[in-house]
């Protein structure tokens, strides 16, 4: 068993772009082995993962460097961490971890097209659209392939154009857990295949389109009853202003997404995660969205505090 780890850095690393890493490392990965690209703070262009052989236990990992993560730049968009424009995944068993996408005009952040029946993992990632970007994530692979998305944030997609979509599945099975989507005409969209969503928050023109949902909150009326019509505003998040978005839950502990989720740590791997986008352990009653608020508050107390939040926030 061997993990081949190479760094992608603007200087002082093994490679200076993910595309060069892919060209230099592409191979047949044996069971038990992994090929990892550890990506450091820089703006990168585009890469196509293609021409590899992977298996369920021998896979590709593309991850943001842990050492770049600080309390001030994690869980929200940051130019002090690695950013890429798009990744085209044409091989199964690819894991994308703690990355940031800055989706260019009319582009899609991450697209998967492969003939195998394996899975793609996307966790701890942030997708930033520019208003004219098409889709953050698109899964269009084999009808038996799977896409797992958790602890991710998608924002900045145009809400008035029906072509703008947070996550669209065209075939196969998608699982979206503990993810925050703000923007886009469609938040999570089934256009073939299926999506199971748990503990998500979506603010879009049409939030959950034909998805199977569990404790999912929405800005429209497609979320779970009791978790509908929740606006993406500063009652819910730290900052929603364009250019300085911070989709951590409101610091006062009164976000309507706090303490309304479901503990999914008993779900089948990889959905048995127990942390949030910051890497913080989810304790107490789980929250909806990518962030778990730091202070666990008893559910009955949240209800009381929320009822009187406008007095408390004065």
């Amino acid at each position: 068993m061997a993990d081949t780890l190479k760094t992608v850095k603007p200087s002082g690393g093994n490679y200076t772009s993910l595309a060069a890493w892919e060209a230099g490392q592409q191979c047949v990965i044996s069971a038990g082995d992994t090929q990892t690209a550890e990506c450091y703070s820089m703006a990168d262009d585009t890469v196509s993962i293609n021409g590899w052989t992977t298996v369920a236990t021998g896979y590709i990992i593309i991850k943001g460097a842990d050492s770049d993560r600080t309390s001030s730049n994690t869980g929200k968009w940051s130019t002090s961490r690695y950013r890429i424009r798009d990744i085209l995944v044409m091989e199964e068993y690819c894991r994308l971890v703690n990355l940031q996408w800055e989706i260019y005009e009319d582009g899609t952040g991450c697209e998967t097209y492969y003939s195998g029946t394996g899975a793609t993992y996307i966790s701890g990632c942030i997708f930033k659209g520019n208003g004219s970007s098409q889709k953050a994530i698109m899964h269009g692979s084999n009808a038996n392939a799977k896409m797992y998305i958790w602890n991710c944030i998608i924002f900045g997609l145009n809400a008035s154009d029906s072509g703008r979509r947070g996550f669209e599945i065209q075939s196969g099975t998608g699982y979206v857990y503990s993810t925050t989507v703000v923007g886009g005409y469609y938040g999570l969209l089934v256009n073939g295949g299926s999506i199971t969503a748990k503990n998500c928050y979506v603010s879009a023109t049409s939030c959950y389109d034909s998805c199977t949902i569990t404790t999912c909150a929405s800005s429209d009326n497609t979320g779970t009853p009791g978790l509908r019509a929740i606006a993406a505003d500063t009652d819910t998040f730290v900052n929603v202003s364009a250019g300085s978005e911070d989709y951590h839950l409101a610091a006062d502990g009164l976000s309507p997404l706090q303490g309304v989720g479901t503990d999914t740590s008993g779900d089948t791997a990889p959905l048995n995660f127990t942390d949030d986008i910051d890497g913080k352990t989810r304790t107490g009653t789980w929250d909806c969205g990518a962030d778990q608020h730091a202070a666990a508050v008893a559910k009955q107390d949240i209800g009381f505090l929320r009822k009187y939040k406008h007095y408390l926030r004065r």
């Binding site: 890493w21 060209a23 592409q26 293609n50 021409g51 590899w52 256009n191 073939g192």
Partner: protein, 263 residues
């Protein structure tokens, strides 16, 4: 000023299709950077060589790192507009001079069948088929669902051959209402009325054909080869012998770059 990273050794895959479309071969350009770029420790021999070209910009070089992709084009050979029936030919515009990457029946037959096309035949360099609007709007491809006949029945209420607008009633079972409404909208249709499991909508013929082409583009068109341009193994060997880095004029670079489409 640009610097181009070229692959100096082959990557290989036992699957010949993956090997061609995915693997970087010796001589393939990989990335282009600004002159003076500080390359990584692995972006050097034995895996790569670097070509410096002060006379060209990064933007000018980007075309040389493009993949060789399919690009289908369609020609309507004959039509009966009154009945909404078209005979269409599709071919691949990125077949090379010697015929490599010409369209094949195997490449498109499943997609055409899924879209309700009939009379599918192959006569190099094209595939010809019959595209009946009425068949297409009742097809698995249009609805994005396998065996749509098991879920829906359709009635053509009217078709105006002048405007090309048809009005259709779909009676649907076991498909969520949201999914049906989304599909009608996504396919360019306009919902006229909806009652229970009956959906009446209108759709214009050009919208159907454009949608069909877009779907085939997305699902059937692929990367044929990882790179369209390359330099010869002999040229790479020369640079390897010289230590892995060479500076070329624009003319020298263009003379060494070969285009697979013209071979």
């Amino acid at each position: 000023m640009a610097e181009i990273l070229f692959k100096a050794i082959d990557a290989t895959n036992p699957d010949p299709d993956k090997d061609r479309r995915g693997c970087y071969k010796k001589g393939y350009p990989v990335v282009v950077m600004q002159g003076g770029h500080t390359w990584g420790t692995e972006e050097a021999l034995p895996k790569f060589i670097i070509v410096k070209c002060p006379e060209v910009t990064v933007e000018q070089c980007k075309q040389y790192i493009e993949s060789w992709n399919d690009n289908f084009s369609y020609t309507v050979v004959s039509q009966d507009a009154a009945k909404g029936i078209y005979t269409v030919r599709v071919q691949n515009d990125t077949a090379n001079v010697s015929g490599l990457n010409r369209i094949t029946l195997a490449k498109v037959e499943a997609f055409l069948t899924k879209w309700g096309c009939t009379g599918i035949s192959f006569t190099s360099p094209y595939v010809q088929f019959t595209f009946k609007l009425w068949d297409v709007v009742r097809s698995d491809g249009f609805w994005g669902k396998e065996n749509i006949d098991d879920f829906a029945s359709f009635v053509l209420n009217s078709y105006d051959s002048t405007t090309g607008i048809g009005t259709i009633t779909a009676t649907v079972s076991n498909i969520p209402e949201k999914e049906v409404l989304f599909t009608i909208k996504e396919r360019g249709g306009t919902l006229i009325s909806h009652s229970g499991n009956e959906y009446q909508f209108s759709i214009e013929r050009s919208a159907i054909f454009e949608l069909f082409k877009a779907d085939v583009k997305q699902r059937a068109e692929n990367v044929f080869c990882r790179r369209k341009f390359y330099v010869s193994e002999a040229d790479i060997n020369t640079v390897v012998s010289a230590g892995g880095t060479v500076t070329l004029t624009k003319t020298q670079l263009l003379n060494k770059l070969k285009n697979k489409l013209t071979e």
